[in-house]
């Protein structure tokens, strides 16, 4: 079996052995695709019932990082590949800025590839995507918050995604699960380019976050009424919004492009895995507006069936095979890293983000131990903007509310306005807040 996590003795401060590991299969693209002002990052936050004490938070982080050697890392450069190396000590916690996901430069990532922030009652963790995905990040956030509450005198049991901080990390948490479960046949990657929403960029890189908070009962009820999942429903609403925007901006139907939504799929449920690293694949359900006007019900039906066809273990295995086969070609393996970077960046810039209008990442229902739920009011999941399209959407459900976080680097809230007013039209009233200036 191919070793996916390595440890070696590395000279370090205090002589402590620093663990290092290769990037997992999905993570390899992220350092190569970076730009001067952009890196692929995402954020998870927990809002507690009391204001955060920075000293206690720092102490909790110092304890928690030892439990997560695959997350408390920095990016290092090898001759042929990047690799992750454990950070010798936890980064200092920082006060938040006026907008989330402030630029994480490559130099910062090479010192520490994640950061912990606080503001009023909220703890936020921002991750470079090469470390982990939303589900892995959620485990880290839950454990950090649990340790914080424990240090504040609240006894939190280790279940519902909260790990024991004193336990040793298991091999299964550190493995690159992409190296298993691939099929003999690789899936094709050819897809039509999607419509891209454009707008006037914020001049100083400000990121606008608009959060919609809606009762989960309402949205689940509506999804059940249509016989679809919540993700399918939200996907269909987004497609409807993008079709409307494209109709306004591109008058000639012949010039319309496909409207597709990139939906990350958590593979841990499909292929049993405890990995805390990246283990997601994306599918892009959508419609082609050139074929005619779609009703909302038609969009729902199409998305529902597309997800049904794609979301099988066999299809996912074929996609995994396509990805892992690419990194196993010897000619590519022995290519120096700087040439690999040029090639991967070229591919990413050409086709990487062309196949979808937006990413909709739904972490689903998040549960916490009952003792912790009493102290955690709310959870949020915010994706960073992509390199070329200005919007992204992160969703999760906690207690009886669904939190939909839109982020954009443009001034106009075109998509958000259409989305929430469409939900209103469907009978779902969302309370909206933002960091607008």
């Amino acid at each position: 079996m191919k070793r996916s996590a390595d440890s070696s003795r590395t000279p370090s401060e205090g002589g402590r052995k620093l663990r290092w590991m290769r990037l997992d299969n999905a993570a390899k693209i992220f350092p190569a695709a970076r730009r001067r002002n952009w890196n692929n990052v995402f954020r998870l936050s927990a809002t507690l019932t009391e204001n955060i004490d920075p000293a206690t938070l720092q102490s909790a982080l110092d304890v928690t990082v030892k439990r997560f050697p695959s997350i408390a890392v920095r990016l290092r450069t090898g001759l042929f590949w990047y690799f992750l190396e454990e950070v010798p000590k936890a980064p200092p916690v920082q006060r938040e800025n006026s907008y989330p996901l402030t630029p994480m430069s490559f130099a910062d990532i090479q010192k520490c590839a994640f950061r912990v922030l606080y503001y009023k009652k909220r703890i936020a963790v921002e991750f470079f995507h090469a470390l982990t995905d939303g589900n892995g990040g959620l485990v880290f956030l839950k454990t950090l918050t649990a340790e914080y509450l424990t240090q504040k005198g609240v006894d939190i049991p280790n279940d519902n995604g909260v790990l024991c901080r004193l336990a040793q990390p298991t091999q299964s948490e550190l493995e690159d699960s992409f190296q298993k479960n691939e099929s003999l046949v690789s899936a094709g990657r050819k897809e039509a380019p999607a419509f891209r929403l454009t707008g006037e960029k914020e001049p100083d890189g400000y990121l606008n976050v608009t959060t919609g908070i809606l009762p989960s009962g309402d949205i689940i009820g509506l999804a059940r009424k249509y016989g679809v999942s919540v993700t399918t429903l939200l996907c269909a609403v987004l497609i409807e919004c993008f079709i409307g925007i494209q109709n306004e901006r591109v008058p000639h139907r012949k010039r319309h492009r496909a409207v597709k939504i990139c939906v990350p799929v958590n593979l841990r449920k499909m292929f049993t895995s405890e990995s805390l690293r990246n283990y997601v694949l994306t599918i892009t359900p959508g419609v082609d507006p050139r074929l005619g006007d779609y009703t909302f019900e038609e969009i729902l039906k199409s998305v529902h069936h597309q997800l049904g066809v794609e979301l099988t273990s066999k299809q996912m295995s074929a996609k995994i095979a396509a990805n892992v086969n690419a990194e196993r070609v010897w000619a590519l393996k022995i290519m120096p890293l700087f040439i690999k970077n040029i090639a991967m960046k070229l591919v990413y810039n050409t086709v990487g983000e062309r196949h979808s209008c937006i990413t909709l990442s739904n972490l689903g229902v998040v549960t916490l131990p009952a003792e912790m739920e009493a102290h955690v009011e709310r959870l949020d999941f915010v994706l960073g903007v992509q390199a070329t399209y200005p919007n992204n959407c992160g969703v999760l459900s906690y207690k009886d509310k669904v939190y939909i976080n839109f982020i954009r680097n443009t001034k106009e809230p075109t998509l958000e306005l259409k989305f929430f007013t469409y939900l209103l039209k469907l009978g779902i009233r969302a309370a909206v807040e933002s960091n607008q200036r």
Binding site: P100, D204, G212, A430, Q436
Partner: protein, 236 residues
């Protein structure tokens, strides 16, 4: 609170709707900015000065880009020929391009009424150099008047467009007539300076075309009904 325009519910942190930017309004509940700020989801934004590209930096780089080939050309010419021979022409062209392209950038708001004649003056100087260097002696008998007429006509057009800001059909008509006359001037000067011929031949065609088109535009400008009718048929 609800947005009065799009109807979405607004959290207490919002003083205007984040979706449609409508100010929050309720006839019975006054909006309290202090409460909204206290409920803000992120710290307030401090405006960051937008980093502007240094004007002087660009000028320095551009000047450097022109200076390097000038120096190289002079050095090569001096090295091979012991003096300035062919490089004068090339360097002259570079200096002319610098005067036309880069010189206006030195000023915050370059006025074309000043820089159009300046560019023609630079062209005249370059032609003077070529005339003297080749021993042609045609500058005062030909090039000077050609450049002078072109400079005067261009400056007049630019000045009218910039300051009068109306009567564009009159200006275009005048420009066409002037262009026709310019061709006549060129042929006359060519005949006189180089002894090519005695009578005007080819320049009568552009003169006729320029005058006819110019008069047509002036007539259209003078007759509003005609102008409206043509606009209806030919709008894009």
């Amino acid at each position: 609170m609800y947005c009065v325009k799009c109807g979405v519910e607004l959290r207490e942190s919002e003083t205007k709707c984040p979706l449609c930017k409508t100010a929050v309004y309720h006839p019975d509940i006054p909006v309290d900015p202090a409460a909204a700020e206290a409920a803000a989801v992120f710290p307030p934004s401090t405006p960051q000065p937008h980093a502007k590209v240094s004007h002087k930096g660009i000028l320095f780089i551009l000047t450097f880009c022109f200076a390097i080939p000038v120096i190289i050309l002079f050095l090569c010419d001096y090295n091979f020929n012991g003096g300035i021979t062919w490089s004068g022409y090339a360097v002259g062209a570079l200096i002319f391009c610098y005067a036309v392209i880069v010189l206006p950038i030195w000023f915050h708001r370059p006025n074309p009424v000043i820089f159009v004649p300046t560019s023609f003056a630079a062209a005249a100087l370059y032609l003077l150099y070529i005339s003297e260097a080749t021993g042609g002696g045609w500058f005062m008998s030909f090039a000077f008047w050609v450049v002078l007429w072109a400079a005067a006509a261009s400056t007049a057009i630019v000045a009218l467009v910039r300051y009068v800001r109306r009567g564009y059909l009159f200006i275009a008509g005048g420009a066409l007539i002037s262009a026709g006359g310019y061709c006549v001037l060129i042929e006359y000067l060519v005949n006189r300076a180089f002894g090519v011929g005695d009578i005007l031949t080819w320049s009568l065609y552009p003169l006729t075309a320029g005058v006819l088109l110019g008069i047509m535009l002036i007539v259209i400008a003078l007759v509003p009904v005609l102008r409206e009718s043509l606009h209806k048929r030919f709008f894009i």
